[in-house]
């Protein structure tokens, strides 16, 4: 059943923000604005400049589409030395997004028209090898954790102040209610939280609050101001008050996470249960999760690492060999910083949440491992 759920996941599509507009339409609208400035059948020479980070392929296709639309509008594209109008179109940008600017000059007369444009966000970089990543959900508010239930047809999303329920209908997640979490204390600035399945429903673990929830007949949540224990990476852990840190009786904290006996400590070290620093774990971040390894007997570790860019983390799979961490996959570059990396309901998956550095949205994905061909 879980395999079916995972297969379903691969069919899901990350919804684009509603206001994203394709480039062909931009060319069409820009041509309409330009042609309204000029008389029909005027000869026009076109100069195009790109002052943005638009890839050359995109700006080139915009230019081609614009020329086509200008012709359709009755203008004559000419390379003559004496066109009726010299047209300079600039792809620029400002705080609000893309801005196309057209200047039409004829002698000393110059007219300007502009078109603000929202560019669709770029797709996340695809992994080159065998960490498979499937986008699931994206929202403006932080996603602390996520649960998929009923063979992947129901989703619970834990935010800083509520649990939201979604149902899959025709391949899309539809809101199906939500319930607020009443907190006596503010969440830490680096908010973290955990959703766990339970016999009667689900449990929520936040710093300073533990909640029991049910989905049927309606989504309900009962919370208490306590840090109760929950299982993680083979240990029973609990949150520290007002902090983004965990602790447990064994191993003792504070630490950010624990996975197959390895701790990401508050001091930035990766250490084993004996307190020894793990060799080969240089550059690991604070989030580590164990995932079943289809290519080996022992679980692999998926590790969050700082990427090349300051806002772009990456994830990479490691295997533990004789106490040494050994890279088992190429790093997968992410379009933002990792804000959560937790085990999923299935031992073969993990939940990854990043904050997209371009959109500012929190994007949750499921990670799985597959053997390289």
């Amino acid at each position: 059943m879980l395999r079916v759920a995972f297969a379903l996941l691969f069919g899901w599509i990350l919804p684009l923000p509603a206001q994203a507009q394709p480039m062909g339409e931009a060319a069409q609208q820009m041509a309409a604005r330009i042609s309204s400035l000029l008389q029909r059948r005027a000869t026009v020479s076109l100069e195009f400049q790109n002052l943005t980070q638009l890839p050359p392929a995109d700006s080139s296709s915009f230019r081609s589409a614009l020329e086509e639309e200008l012709r359709k509008a009755g203008l004559e594209m000419a390379n003559t030395a004496q066109p009726d109008f010299r047209l300079r179109v600039t792809a620029s940008e400002n705080v609000r997004g893309l801005l196309f600017v057209a200047e039409a000059a004829s002698g000393d007369n110059r007219q300007v028209t502009m078109l603000p444009w929202n560019l669709p966000p770029r797709a996340a970089a695809k992994p080159r090898i065998r960490i498979a990543m499937q986008p699931i959900w994206e929202q403006a508010e932080p996603v602390l954790d996520l649960l998929l239930l009923d063979s992947g047809s129901t989703m619970l999303v834990l935010g800083p102040a509520k649990v939201s329920n979604f149902r899959m209908v025709n391949g899309k997640w539809n809101p199906a209610g939500g319930v607020a979490i009443s907190m006596l204390r503010p969440l830490p600035r680096d908010p973290r939280g955990r959703l766990e399945l339970s016999a009667s429903g689900f449990r929520v673990y936040l710093p300073d609050a533990t909640c029991s929830g049910v989905l049927q007949p309606d989504l309900k949540l009962t919370c208490s101001a306590a840090n109760e224990r929950w299982p993680l990476g083979g240990a029973q852990v609990r949150w520290q008050n007002d902090r983004n840190l965990l602790e447990s009786d064994s191993p003792r904290g504070p630490f950010y996470t624990v996975a197959v006996g390895l701790l990401a400590t508050a001091e930035g070290r990766i250490q084993d249960r004996n307190g020894e620093q793990v060799s080969g774990a240089d550059g690991w971040g604070s989030d580590v999760v164990s995932v079943d390894n289809p290519c080996g007997a022992d679980p692999a570790l998926v590790v969050a690492k700082a990427g090349d860019g300051r806002d772009h983390d990456e994830v990479q799979a490691y295997e533990m060999v004789n106490g040494l961490a050994r890279a088992a996959s190429e790093p997968v570059s992410l379009p933002g910083a990792v804000t959560a990396l937790w085990p999923a309901e299935s031992r073969g998956q993990a939940t990854l949440v990043i904050r997209d550095s371009k959109t500012g949205n929190y994007a949750a994905s499921r990670l799985g491992l597959a053997c390289a061909e």
Binding site: E93, N94, E141, R189, D190, A266, G285, D287, R310, A337
Partner: protein, 440 residues
Amino acid sequence: MRLHGWAWLALSSLLAFPLAGATRPRYGGALTVDLSATWSTLDPADGFPESLSPLIAETLVRLNAKGEAEPLLATNWQRDADRKRWRFVLRPRVFFHDGEPLTAASAALSLAPALKKRYGDIGITAGSSTLLIQSDRPMPDLLTELANPRMAIHRKSDKIALIGTGPFRISAWEPGRRLTLAAFEDYWGGRPFLDTVNINPGAARASADVFDLPVGPGRRIVPDRTRIWSSAPRELVAVLVPNVQPVVQQALALAIDRAPIVTVLTQRKGEAAYGLLPQWLSGYLFLFATPPDVARAKAMMGQLRIAPLTLSYPANDAFLRSVADRVALNARDAGIVVQPVAGANGNLRLVRLPLESTDAVAELVRLAGVLGVPERASALNAAKPETLYETERLLLEEHRIIPLLYLPDVYGLGPRVRNWDAAQKNGSFRLHLENVWVEP
């Protein structure tokens, strides 16, 4: 009175949690900040640096990097169609640093003087958790005004000069010498990572964790392993031309070569300015770009006989003095005699015009006001950038100002400082130290 046609403008209370790098933030530690500016007051409306005051005292709303209003102490707001009546819903469970809860009454009391100063006769009514602000005249820019640190909601006591709701509370204040901030444990947005921030005004050292690096002469020598961080350009350096013949202004504008000013005087940290708003804010600055043309400037001056002009610059501003010298040199090449003088009474005035927000409309309105023609910026629409361009073009063609260059804020960051870049993305022109943390 029933409020017809009210539109919900902001429904969510989004919190931003900027984190970068795969290492999670650590709590604790002290951050030292050396700043070259000096100030002797903690009043947000009277000289306390706007880059710092939001750490202590917060506004109802703030502007994001796109210039859009976002919830801060107000979680949502409504207005009527005429923009004369605005209702703000206050964020629940917010406390001042002395433990008093934020109430509509305390917010109204704090806001009233600043709002009356800005809008004149204005009514502020406190409900149980709402504030109603109304005037007989439209207040289209109210959100931008409320986002200004001068409108921060705060109180004072005999012992504490500034009691706010921000992430840090004042721990000690030696006027003009040292400001110590401590983490506010009950901050509604979550306690800051740092325990303490020690801010030293008027400090010329470069040994702190964070120190500013003013562009121009007297730059500090920075230690090894210091990382330099620059903001987007946020200050316009320009010559104001209040009472000079337009032809002389045009000739002077053509004669000034901005390239050496940018390259030599700002060490490439600045950018040439030909318009009023920088490119990142307007998107159309390149439309105003004009290369220097001394020959044309000379021809324009022709047989014109004019008395030598004085170009004043602030007496204590060594950078502007060097810019003034350069302008005088360029002017001489065009046959215009310009004498740089310290002070503020020249025929020409060299000034710094800092941007106050990421709202292009608000900034253009403000600059039109500086130029003495606020009515020129009365029909701006952010969704129609042509309206901004046309207004800016008219302002430039009225020969009241010659833009020279834009300057960024530049900071040196010590090796202990983490999460700086991501933290500063959370809004503009303010130091967001609540998201910064330090290595032990």
